[in-house]
Symmetry: C2
Subunit: 261 residues, 2 copies
């Protein structure tokens, strides 16, 4: 399979989904990105609000949602239903031929229910990028379709599972890298990785495997950013050409944000 | 495009969706039907229950749900999210390569928001079978995929719409008839059209355009059955090879139910 451009895999989170103006701008910019491209969306805040209204308690362990049967229904409704279809309809209106997916659809992202030991997360699914249906993904991209993934997957035995949207994005990018060179973009709140957290203009534009240890030792990269960068390097070791962390407002600007190579 | 069998388009309603045992049986039988095939599902009762829990009033006019913005979110969550993905996951587990769709996905079923005069149904969409994306439908069927449609459509301008699942089924069957000969099956509670409503064994196995006026005049076909049969004849006039009304338990039995030709 050959494309004249890299495949771009973009992940957006709740901060874009929850903000009507930010989502409208993102949809417009993303629709104009050259194909082939893929979108992965989160949407945790909306799920928490629906769970509250339905009086289903929300339990988070280390930022991950514990997913009992009632919570699985909530996240399936919100991620695979409301958010996925709203985003697809908006992208269609913007001229982008989007097609929404859970991992069950076309068996595109099979997952494995996480071992209940040492912590029982319930219906949470871990993804093995090598199990992604790259044939279907390739066929879609070749025909000009933009797949839009929510973080609902399935176990192949009839049960849906709740996966982490960042992990879905990394796994899809690794799978897509076996089709054609792939760039992975994580949209988040900040302009990128900042040298000085108080200064939005201090974006580190490039982090390489060589720079990274020094940036960690100097404490410039710390806390919540470490797992993101570690994940980025893992994606690159698995074949992804580049990982960029940038603001959703800058998704169409190829030089914005921090690129990890 | 050529298939060695007719395309089968099956519609199931809330009576199957709401009953775990009935759904399990249906999934097993449907998975074993020869391809190419398409499934359309309703799910109105679950949507009404979620709306109740969220204290969103449900208004029905002549059996059709009035769909304000809050109700549109509810039906999108329940039809395109919960039910569609559960059915897809169960079909995948049964060996059927199902792929779920709203009308927005791949712009496969565009619809037009119903005129608010004389009755304002809100975000309700009417479908023109000639606008269905038959190219995508044909590509999916040719590659062995079983599309699973909920009754959520879109207006092409970014808004989702709530459509009638029977109308989606008829329109999809008419569109699919332009690809290859198509049989449409409506699953419902009864064995078929009964000559005597008290006698389940009195199924009329065949109704033709010639028989129909007499059956109506004799009062054998009356009330709720008339629009169903009228719809069936309209589908046939638009190119569908046959329309069968049967119990979901009999979906795999080719001689069960009432066939309209």
């Amino acid at each position: 399979m050959a494309f004249d451009k890299n495949i771009t895999v973009v992940k957006i989170g709740g901060n874009v989904i929850d903000n009507e103006a930010a989502l409208a701008r993102f949809v417009k910019d993303f629709a104009q990105l050259p194909s082939p491209k893929v979108l992965i969306h989160g949407g945790g805040k909306l799920a928490t609000r629906l769970a509250e209204k339905l009086e289903i308690p929300t339990t988070m362990i280390e930022g991950r949602r514990v997913t009992d049967a009632a919570t699985l229904d909530v996240v399936t409704m919100v991620y695979a239903g409301l958010i996925n279809k709203q985003v697809v309809a908006k992208l269609q209106a913007a001229g982008c031929n989007a097609l929404g997916f859970s991992g069950a659809d076309g068996n595109i992202i099979p997952a494995i229910k996480r071992n209940p030991e040492p912590l029982d997360y319930g219906f949470v699914g871990d993804i093995d990028a090598s199990k992604i249906n790259t044939q279907l993904l390739g066929t879609l991209l070749e025909s000009g379709v933009t797949p839009v993934f929510c973080a609902i997957t399935h176990d192949g035995n009839g049960s849906l599972l709740n996966s982490n949207a960042d992990s879905v994005a990394s796994a899809v990018a690794v799978a897509s890298a076996s089709i054609a060179p792939t760039d992975l973009v994580f949209c988040f709140e900040k302009q990128g990785v900042l040298r000085d957290v108080e200064d939005d203009s201090s974006v580190i534009s490039l982090i390489t495997k060589t720079d990274y240890p020094a940036l960690r030792n100097e404490g410039i990269i710390s806390k919540g950013m470490i797992p993101k960068i570690d994940n980025a390097f893992r994606a690159i070791e698995s074949g992804v050409a580049s990982v960029t962390i940038k603001q959703s407002e800058c998704v169409a600007n190829p030089t914005a944000g921090t690129t990890i190579k």
